[in-house]
Symmetry: D2
Subunit: 295 residues, 4 copies
């Protein structure tokens, strides 16, 4: 049993903390929304009244927050907890934030002799509940090995992307590529349908051919092709357009910071932005298919 | 044993005809280049002096030509062979051409009571030699079943895409998607590398995550990640940039003809066109990676 | 006074023919729609029952048709009039068609010793009615000079773009650039507004700076900035999205035929196509502004 | 005569300070590079050893620095000068920086009761030397009127874009639009040339038609069309690709911060980034023409 401090109990953090509790770990939790703290407390978690409180005796500190500014504020702000963290703890930030922010925080940790990993996840709320998330981890191999058993409670794919910050970069690259292949798949399917093809038949041909990709494999965006995907349910649930736009924003920032050219990624971002601005922000990201249909 | 008339003996058609000969079929061949006819003749083929000649007694007529105008000319030109084909024959055009051209030819066939299939292939010269091509077939199910054993000599994946012309459409959609995912993969890998990641590690993470696609699976564009791919051999061989540009041109035409919006496909086409215009036309199409590197 | 045969009396051709009549020329007219012929006949035109009829004694033959296939059919079809045209006539095709079609027709004219000019127009229905069209002319300088007085009845800018076909090419290039600068202007204005700027102030600054362009000068796409433009009238009238899409299609075809890379032009085409597919086909093309607003 | 403190004496700031001296103002100058200070000192400026020193008795404080971080550091850093500025001074930052940085600095000024204007310029080194810059100013109308005579020494177009920060936004919007119209013009010219047109003739037609824009008017990117532009001098001098990339980066950031969709601007940024990465960073930005030529 480990003592774990967990900060951020939203749609993702809540079920992650629950899974740690179910695995018999001692989990002290904090969120700025008291009802979220209460909910985990009812499941056996220790309710804390501040982020600093969760640090008490913690072997591990895990944070799961919405964006860069929240993470910077938590660790490095005026009441930031970084200076309060014991050097025997290992810190794992599971938020998806910019590599620049991630580096700022991990550099501060390093300066204080605190082991820190960036470990953004994919798999969505469903994966968080099921304990089947994918963790993409930056930091030392040694630190990762120490916390691997804990991560395996919450997820079933643990990747080591490289040194501190590499987890964020890898996640951003992956999601940018995902946006491109989802949009490209939607375009190709619509082009086929507009030429009289059956979306299901075309999907199957491309899936087994050189156009094969994750979307065709498990997340077909065209309604009626696949069961149990958002396309079959009016694009409800899943990975929201607004979240994809957020991740694509991180990719853009990262490209600017490193003088990288990303024409397709940038176009996908701007198409998702158009799509979101017309009311689709709360739909699943495979709804980009609807951009290509004729009204 | 079938009697097969085979027209077009280039890089693709030559080895396809060879494989039919090896399987003990009688193959009468024609090409406008006499030396290509001679070469197949030395392997046991019957050398013909005109396209019309190969029709004599043929159960099957197979054509494999570079582009739409050649196919239209062969079948419908001033000396076109369509009117000479016996209605007991089945015609298979394996060329990759525009759906519009394909429809024009198949409509003419239909008017004469001739069974015709469009059956463009993927798999490249290697697949043609190895007899491991993929055929994407348009036409009736019944006609496809009749010729399936013959196609299986030349390939090992036979897809039925739909009615006449559907084979061309499906191939075009697939190759457009392929260009998008290859370019998107190249961008994502370079973005990672520019942020300090190892291309091999990032490739592996994305391959197993939602960025997974055919390029990451078997055709990684980043040098040093994968053995036995063009990226490991200065992008020699493989599927040439110029051929990808040709297929993307067919996709553009098809989008214009059907009022389809294909922003990523169109951008990929124009990036490939830039790339080809700077001297890369004869390289493998995964060399699009080089567009994103700093000179 | 000249004897003029005029074929195609639609929204553009009708008022063009009227203006020739008002200038006291003898105009024999034909259209497949009898009521259009009748309408010009009531204004003093000679009603003809076939395209061939208008040729009788004509010094000039002018055609104004919707698209490539109509022009090819008129001149080169089964009942095509090219062989019937007297070599003393000069033929002016004012339709906007593909350079390839234009070349096909003008090559046929040349073979028969018939002088032919391609002279696509810009200026829209308003310009046709007012006699203030712009003509962009391909053909010999000498032929252009012979017909210049006639063109000046219908328009007030006559450009000589080069040899036969050059008129079409120049018009296509211009309209592709127009689509790019209109869309770019819309993006820039919305970016400014989203950052709190006043669209009118920003328009004025950019108009006088290096962002200056035709749209900012006379055709501002942002509602409320300029009087008497479609943006001030819910984008009614003007140059329709569907017509811009048609012209952009010709630009795409021309880029494919000449191995040209046109990334911005292709993106503009696909954005206009998206826009048109969501119900904006019948709005003015400056309505692309609406693609960038938040619903 | 005014007492002016001037910080930042690079390619732009140096000649701007010179012009103020020539107009008989008292100018105290500072730069981190001592030789630049010395150069202005030789022209009659007062050499200072720190940024703080230039403030002494200054009616106006002008800064001209490379990027956001320099401006933030100058005014708000550990040794930032904002708290040292007298409330009777007016501060003018002429740097081109992000609207976010600009707002941060101007908010700090406001909190201290200091009048501040953001006044980024266009016109390049040539305009700085000639005193013919364009200033795009954010801040109050009243403050702008107070300093207008000073700005008119350095430039001849003074625009008021709106409240604090609006100058930066307007400049960014303008330069994004400029990148789009320059690239679009280059594409259109190359498409015309590839179709056999003369670049000069086509330029003239489009300039007078609806494709008309600043590039065609005074800065044609096609070699041989216009005298005295960078295109006629192997794209030496002018406004460098690397600087355009910087400004486009600010536009991207600004679009991310305001949820704006800028597909053409983003594509232009990525094309300029490709171009710069192949060795063109130090060429004039009209060299984007070279991206579209065949090597």
């Amino acid at each position: 049993m480990k003592k774990i401090g967990f900060i951020g109990l939203g749609n993702m953090g809540g079920p992650m903390a629950s899974n740690l509790l179910k695995a018999q770990h001692e989990v002290a939790v904090y969120d700025i929304v008291p009802s979220l703290v209460e909910s985990i407390s009812e499941q056996g978690g220790i309710a804390c009244k501040s982020a600093a409180e969760v640090l008490c005796g913690a072997d591990l500190v895990i944070s799961m927050l919405p964006a860069s500014q929240h993470v910077e504020s938590l660790y490095l702000g005026d009441e930031g907890i970084m200076p309060l963290i014991d050097t025997s703890s290992i810190v794992i930030d599971c938020s998806t934030i910019s590599p620049a922010s991630s580096n700022k925080v991990s550099t501060a940790a390093q300066a204080l002799g605190i082991a820190m990993l960036d470990a953004p996840v994919s798999g969505g709320v469903g994966g968080a509940v099921a304990g089947s998330l994918t963790f993409i981890v930056g930091g030392t191999e040694a630190d990762l090995e120490k916390v691997r058993p804990i991560l395996e409670i919450m997820g079933n794919n643990i990747f080591h992307a490289g040194a501190a910050g590499a987890g964020q970069v890898a996640k951003i690259c992956n999601n940018m590529l995902l946006s491109v292949l989802m949009t490209g798949t939607a375009e190709a399917l619509q082009l086929g349908v507009n030429n009289g093809l059956d979306a299901k038949v075309l999907s199957e041909i491309m899936r087994k051919s050189s156009g094969g990709n994750w979307a065709l494999e498990v997340y077909n965006p065209y309604p009626g092709v696949m069961d149990n995907v958002p396309a079959g349910n009016d694009y409800q649930g899943g990975f929201l357009v607004d979240l994809m736009i957020k991740d694509l924003g991180l990719a853009m920032e990262s490209a600017l910071a490193t003088d990288s050219s990303i024409p397709l990624g940038a176009l996908a971002r701007n198409l998702y932005r158009l799509h979101g601005s017309k009311g689709a922000g709360g739909k699943d990201f495979s709804s980009i298919q609807q951009l290509f249909t004729t009204r």
